[in-house]
């Protein structure tokens, strides 16, 4: 039994609210337990300069930024105003790569989608929840493109969700909160498609190396969690 009463293979309660604000074409308030994110998707009808100079410039682009707001943790986190810290850089690169994997950039056309993941409250699992919520914001933003994109060629080629798994006291557990994450022996973030294939796997030993068998157990747990998250995504997108 885990410290909050969950089973090893149990997600935290997930809440999803689309169109939390209305100025951004995609705007999702998503929470998993006490982790709360506002994920917006904006569309810029231009390309970044390095991309525009490219011969393949008819293709679009997607990029992401991740930011923990100062009030999202206790003690308060210093605002990243002069330089971005290494952890944020690493996370936003992961989010951007993962969401790019489900976009057909030729179908999107020469425009840029910006995903902004703002952490309003941090209690573990922000990077994977940012991907899961980012997918919903991305769907909503693309829907606003209307006739700017062809109806015959969908911009989104897959659904995407992500979850963290880990090993705690030798037991594989799903969707770690901050306390579990800080004590886990392994920390593994998994991003998958609706077809059950991998987009990204990032596993890190925390103080103790892990065996191939332990890796397999965690991947199975992640698959199970991601299937549930995808059902919640589908329900939210219908609602």
């Amino acid at each position: 039994m885990r410290h909050d009463g969950r089973q090893p293979d149990e997600l935290r309660p997930i809440r999803i609210q689309r169109q939390f604000t209305k100025v951004a074409p995609g705007s999702v308030l998503i929470s998993a337990g006490d982790t709360t994110l506002l994920v917006t998707a904006s569309i810029d009808e231009t390309l970044p300069p390095w991309k525009a100079a490219d011969p393949a410039a008819q293709k679009g682009w997607l990029t992401a930024e991740y930011c923990m707001l100062p009030g999202s943790t206790s003690p308060r986190k210093r605002r990243e105003r002069e330089k971005v810290d290494g952890r944020s850089t690493e996370i936003q690169r992961l989010i951007g790569r993962s969401l790019r994997a489900c976009v057909d950039f030729e179908a999107l056309g020469p425009r840029t989608i910006m995903i902004d993941v703002e952490v309003l409250q941090a209690d573990g699992g922000t990077r994977t929840l940012g991907i899961t919520g980012g997918y919903i914001a991305l769907c909503d933003a693309i829907a606003t493109l209307g006739d700017k994109v062809s109806k015959d060629r969908p911009v989104l080629t897959a659904s995407i969700a992500a979850v963290s798994v880990g090993i705690s006291n030798g037991t594989p557990i799903l969707d770690l909160d901050y306390i579990e994450d800080s004590q886990a022996e392994v920390d593994l973030n998994v991003v998958m498609t609706g077809a059950g294939e991998f987009i990204e796997i990032q596993g890190t030993a925390e103080g103790r190396s892990f065996t191939r068998e332990q890796l397999d157990q965690q991947l199975s747990l992640a698959e199970k969690g991601i299937r549930q998250l995808m059902e919640l995504q589908r329900a939210a997108l219908k609602g």
Copy 2:
């Protein structure tokens, strides 16, 4: 009649939700029409270095940061990650000065209160709404101090609220939204106490200078709006 149907002396609908997140001791989601802010108040049990070196170091401090999130506007606003732009600097200095005016720093003791105003959606009046919401977050944060501060000497010495007024087509109007603000001839931000005295007045001619009579009309309008905002603050703090 204004473009959204309001009377010249009418505030936008105000919504206030305390404890929107729970990790920060004060956490207020406040909106006026489509302007939506998350204001958190955090407490740091130390003083900033320049303050700690001061002989009066038994006194506390309060400081504020203001940030428009990228998804709060369309087109998306570039994130201030390498340097803070001049407008943000000016606004957060105003918010900090205004809220400091209601704190007895000897009663607070040698600790720092950090107010973070995050603009989730921007539609005019963010700086004054940040002060109005910041006062509520400040009350909640101070309440968490409990026995760390004396019961005989209140930390808060006044209530504080703020509103913008302006002149549009020659008519003084209250609580401008973005469209009104961008067309107004004068932009005046007023911060007042519950006792009806001024904390800060910042008036700027936009393309046309203004007379002392026009100033007087606007100040009267601001006083009226601030009295209403203070009732809403009181109701929220009771609720």
Copy 3:
């Protein structure tokens, strides 16, 4: 009686020297008591990129920078070489806004005027003296444009001057020096036109809020001081 023997409504001695240097088209050495500024006005025959992209790009622009030189205070002020501090940002935005209020940018045409306020010695009132001196430098710079601008449509539409007022021991006083400023209960900076209208009002309570009556007294004092400053500006511009 004030610490330097002045009456409450008395300005410090003002000295104005035009063309202090000759490479900048406007170059004014101006002092009020021990506050000494070099204000230059330069003309750039291009527009800033954000302005040039504007459909209204035939209009010109004016911007200002404010800098306290390290040797202008004791102890020496650290040079702002890596980032501009919040106070400088706030002041240079005020100076720029105020001087833009007297320029007809269509008459100026697609060029940029840069006002540089260098504080050679700081003893209070630098921001308002920067505006008062900046107006003179601006006049001199515009005069060098000659036939580049139309004679039928003056570039300058008003004269501008500014002064600080405050309340010290309950008494409203004019043109505070550093000692007075650091002890004042209210600090109010006022920018006006030659027609007696307001361009900018920035009033801040310092530790104690102020009443509408006190505001009125200070505004009257400011009007009186600004009338005197405008006479000195006119005399200097003739000389």
Copy 4:
């Protein structure tokens, strides 16, 4: 057959030269094909401030920096002198985490080991080669500590090496060079211990998601490559 004639499971030729310079306690010139790195390990007899403030401050620390020199690529890479780019941040965090996994920081004592990975020539696989070479530099640096550390408790608790694997035209391949890397469908970096356990797994789909079976094939290939690299490390450390 691969473009350079290698078998799918064949490493590039590895060259290792210890003590390439003599001022740093560890200094390894290591190359895999045309990828050439200088990895130095320096020892600082203090701890970083955030670590020193920690109650566990008797424990040491290890951190890493990664830098591609401008002349290491064609076209020349702009030197990271004003900010570190996201890719470098991500890589140096991986190198640091991986090498920390083999150090007993209590045995090391309150000192910091700095690993500097300088890419003299880049042809793919720099991050994994940096870990493989970094382990050797780390061994050499720790050997210089002599009596400063206890003989009864080894500072190094495992050996560490790393390699990249990928899928190219559907075939899993080992140790990708730049051309292969830029065309691969999957990019997987694996860090392992001498005991055959995982320290870090980072797998990224490049344009196409991958199955669990493909993951398994790649992990087997990586294990094989890492075993060979560890033999080369051992030979170098004896030499």
Copy 5:
């Protein structure tokens, strides 16, 4: 004959005004033709951290900053607010090194002298004039130390002045203005003591290398100019 009518071995007219401002202990307005500088010397009763940590921390320190104000040139020079440009860095290092050469830092005691060279108008020769004027500001600042330093051991061990020389159309010339400097074939800056010895020599070929004989001719010219500058320094320090 030179473009301004000077002989090859003739200095520009030099004007020196001590105590131009009064808050800094040394404050010198110095000009050579149209080059005009404000040089201040401030005293900080502490040492920089890297110096204070030194076992020889009873010794003082002197450092210099050099800044061309934006209005000092036409077109206006961009203000160095985010980073210092290479030329300024090079010049302020030269000024600091040169003035340190005449200070007995044991006699000065554990305090720091800051020399700030502000270029109000630039017409060539700013770095050497900064040294010549800086020496006067330094004398004035040290005189304010009074009993804080011993009367038996002078803080200043030499007098220092500097001048530029060059070769123009094959002829060695003294004290180049901007036009001459931009056309000269050699640019040589020389710093000397009152005893006629060298502190610093920096000679640069501009497009054409120079012979040892040409170097000798220029050094003789520099010596002559520096002797005259030292007489002017002495006269100013008496006056």
Copy 6:
């Protein structure tokens, strides 16, 4: 006799290895005693923006960067990642100016040569060795231009080498290592052409001023050293 057994006029052992890496068109590993540099020369077929805007834009450009790698000294040198320190700026400006003196930029055509001097191990004399090695890398890079430049007009108009000289205990010495440099009374860096003329002279008194006679002795020593270095350059370029 010097601490390492050399005669006063004796260079340290010089080793030169061309094409140390192969991706950069010029790549030279050069060492003088324990000072070891990797100097690369890259060619960019564009001009820097400030140069391209120039009417003389058919002319090419050469610029240099100098960087001491962190592991090149003990204690480890902090990596210059946020700003370049003053010493590096000064040195890379010297290297760039010196090497520009031997290039006919019209013959080079509108392209930029970048010289990167990476200090792998620092033991004094890095700036002059960077010039000596940079000349070789420059020759190699220009040779790769082939038919892009005219055969009738050589791009290189002179050969260039540099050395440091100094005065130690009153004796002029050649090619100082770090220990000698830190104790020398004078530090003089000399850059010369194959024709025996000067490109740059930078002499600095370290604690004691120097006479014209001492300058002459040092210049003679430098000439002798540079003649030997040029023979080594010629041999390397033939080999």
